[in-house]
């Protein structure tokens, strides 16, 4: 057995039978071996899309996503994707070819120091220089990528190692004595959290993406009910709680709902789980949760106390810690449902729900589009967004109800992510409907992969919210830079319908209220890939907290009740 075959065998043994990749000089031996294997290889049209697709695959399924690229430019094209996975803690394995061992360091053709390049954007990376170690390294890479705080791991395999004969295929692992994620929370700290919860009268739960990664959604909802606390989520936490529920406050932060931002700031106890208090979440730190005792549960000790001072730190897996906490709370019959806070937050939350119906406006509003989208999809439909206004409209006003159905690039804010991520999600869960919501700017950054979608038959719906602007930057220019629209007008190129058609994709332009709904219905029925260019009002602004201000100071919110 050769190195490449050992790699393929290990991947299949680990259940990673689907990979996204692009061949090139230094992976020809590996691809020659893939030719005879059971690996389901999806040929993308740009390595960045392989990385994003692997990421979308991982986010949708909870499994490890795998991508393959050749050395040099192939490997460096993965960088943005890996950085995206790293910031949002998704388990991805990137396999790169490398020039043969004897050429490393000689500036050989298509050589790049991909280990050095990806050190700061991977959880770990390894160059394998002994073919016999391939199975052990792959096993360990999967362990590192998928346990603790998940993240991307890159494995660099020189061409000669791919071709070298193994003495023996030895499963096993490398010694990872420096890697021991804490899963069970500290008993005393959980007890302290429990005591604080008993004493507190205005509790808010802040739920982050870590809950989805730990598959702790049920536990989170159980805790919220048990202590009658409302749940605000971060962007990455969307889907943890059914957002139509009266105790769901929606997203907090720069583009959060006013009710959500205000209630979080009014609480006397914040239970933050699986979130990292990013600047987009907290706004000005001095004005964030002024009166709250903070309980922070996270599997990454470095996140605790990094941005926000914490009273009760609990390092551990969200599911395990929440189970213990719930057990303690259940041992004592607590009833917080009669606290004035409960009525207060419910009333406040009922008011100021974002207005999404704009049926009378001449230009189509993005809110109206997402309303029509909401009306035709089901609870299992996976939505991916790109980055910018399209993303924040969805995060702000679209109601998710299940984990892993709202996929978005959070920390890295990677334009061009949404479309390939949808590709990965659809490949992971072919039975689910997938809708990718993009802007015109972001979609163009990865549109070449329409070819992949066509050739590999990956049917999902791409909605391009076209306002001819780089919308989010344009919004900042309108609000904070005296309307000096420096380089944010993208013009009217391309004709997205013709672009879609050039790739053989059903494409349609939408300009009026009601058309989105009809087109989506039709597309879902045909089961074929469909591209919808939805022309929207370029002047519609998102409510937002001006940069550098506290999250109470949200401006521009339009609510159903005009409040």
């Amino acid at each position: 057995m050769k190195g490449g075959q050992a790699l393929i065998k290990s991947l299949i043994n680990l259940g990673a039978d689907t990979v996204f990749g692009y061949p090139g000089g230094q992976v020809i031996p590996l691809y020659d071996m893939i030719y005879d294997s059971d690996l389901n290889h999806i040929l993308v049209r740009h390595e960045q899309c392989a990385a994003h697709a692997a990421d979308g695959f991982a986010r949708a399924s909870g499994k490890v996503g795998v991508c393959i690229a050749t050395s040099g430019p192939g490997a460096t094209n993965l960088v943005t994707g890996l950085s995206t996975s790293y910031m949002d803690s998704t388990p991805v394995i990137a396999i790169t070819g490398q020039v043969p061992g004897h050429l490393i360091g000689n500036d050989a053709f298509q050589e790049s120091d991909i280990i050095g390049i990806t050190m700061p954007i991977t959880k770990h990376n390894i160059q394998i220089n002994n073919q016999n170690m391939i199975p052990a390294y792959i096993n360990s890479a999967f362990e590192i990528a998928s346990t603790g705080r998940p993240g991307p791991v890159l494995i660099d395999i020189p061409k000669n190692i791919q071709e070298a004969e193994l003495d023996e295929y030895n499963d096993g692992k490398i010694n990872l004595e420096g890697y021991k994620p804490t899963k069970k929370g500290h008993k005393m700290q959980i007890k302290r959290a429990y005591e604080t919860i008993l004493k507190s009268e205005k509790i808010v739960i802040l739920a982050g993406g870590g809950i989805i990664l730990a598959n702790a959604t049920n536990e989170l909802n159980k805790l919220a009910k048990l202590i009658s606390a409302p749940v605000a989520t971060t962007l990455m936490g969307k889907g943890i709680i059914d957002e139509s529920d009266e105790s769901s406050l929606g997203m907090i932060g720069m583009h959060g709902r006013r009710a959500s931002n205000n209630l979080v700031n009014e609480c006397d106890c914040l239970i933050a789980i699986g979130c990292r208090f990013s600047d987009r979440t907290t706004g000005k730190l001095d004005e964030f949760i002024p009166d709250a005792k903070v309980i922070h549960i996270d599997i990454d000790p470095a996140e605790i106390g990094k941005n926000v001072n914490v009273d009760i730190p609990i390092v551990g897996d969200a599911k395990i810690v929440l189970e213990s906490l719930i057990k303690l709370l259940e041992s004592k019959k607590i009833n917080k449902s009669n606290l004035p806070w409960v009525n207060y937050y419910k009333t406040k939350n009922k008011k100021g729900r974002p207005q999404i119906s704009f049926e009378d406006d001449e230009l189509l509003k993005p809110q109206q589009v997402l309303k029509e989208l909401s009306e035709v999809i089901n609870k299992d439909t996976i939505i991916t967004t790109d980055v910018g206004q399209n993303q924040m409209w969805m995060a702000y006003a679209f109601k998710s109800s299940k984990p892993r159905t709202f996929i978005s690039s959070g920390g890295a804010g990677t334009m061009g992510f949404g479309f390939p991520a949808a590709m990965g999600a659809k490949v992971a869960l072919p039975e689910s409907d997938v809708v990718s919501v993009c802007g015109d700017g972001g979609f163009l950054m990865s549109c070449q992969d329409l070819a992949t979608v066509k050739e590999e038959d990956i049917p999902f719906i791409t909605c391009i919210l076209n306002n001819n602007y780089l919308g989010m930057v344009a919004q900042w220019q309108r609000l904070f830079y005296n309307e000096r629209m420096s380089h944010t007008y993208l013009g009217t190129t391309p004709d997205f319908v013709k672009l879609g058609e050039a790739f053989g994709i059903n494409s349609e332009r939408i300009e009026k209220v009601g058309e989105t709904k009809e087109a989506l219905k039709k597309a879902l029925k045909t089961g074929e890939h469909t591209l919808l260019e939805i022309v929207i009002d370029p002047n519609e602004l998102l409510p937002m907290v001006p940069p550098g201000e506290g999250i109470n100071n949200i401006v521009g919110e339009k609510s159903e009740d005009g409040d």
Binding site: E177, G178, Y179, A302, G305
Partner: protein, 163 residues
């Protein structure tokens, strides 16, 4: 309050580990005064001693972030009071006159140093000790014209029986 911290780590003795550690410090904006690496008592592991300057919060982040590196096995913040720090310094001094030669020899003896090599034109001197001692020695040598200077940066060991 900003203070000097001595961070002692046990790391895999492999290529790239130093880059992982120094890259982490650069990326997170932590400062490194000095870093020394060498064999440890355990086969395959090296001990890396990092001297850094920062407040308590950045120290906490340094320790936590270092711990997250897969190739870092152990991280300790050593108590400055109960830790022995030593560094090695090599100095090349020009010796133009007999007077200078004898002055250098005397100072070197006082500081417990050694003259490792002597030619008609220069001496190479070795001094070990904590950073203060080396600084004092260098203060004496500077007026006599230091030709070359090479310091290792401190390595450290706690006097505590537990670590």
């Amino acid at each position: 309050m900003n203070k000097n911290h001595i961070i002692s780590t046990l790391v895999k003795h492999e290529s790239g580990v130093l880059q992982r550690v120094s890259g982490l410090f650069t990326r997170r904006g932590f400062n490194i005064e000095s870093i020394t690496v060498g064999e440890s008592e355990i086969d395959g592991l090296a001990r890396m001693t990092i001297i850094s300057h920062g407040d308590e919060k950045s120290l906490e982040q340094m320790l936590k972030q270092l711990n997250k590196l897969i190739d870092v096995i152990k991280v300790r913040d050593l108590n400055v009071e109960t830790t022995i720090k030593r560094e090695l310094c090599l100095i090349k001094m020009s010796t133009p006159t007999e007077k200078v030669r004898s002055e250098i020899i005397q100072y070197t003896q006082i500081f417990g140093g050694k003259i490792l090599d002597a030619t008609s034109e220069d001496f190479i001197i070795e001094i070990t000790g904590d950073s203060d001692k080396i600084n004092s020695f260098l203060d004496l040598m500077r007026p006599l014209n230091i030709k070359k200077l090479s310091r290792t940066g401190p390595t450290a060991m706690s006097k505590s029986t537990r670590c």
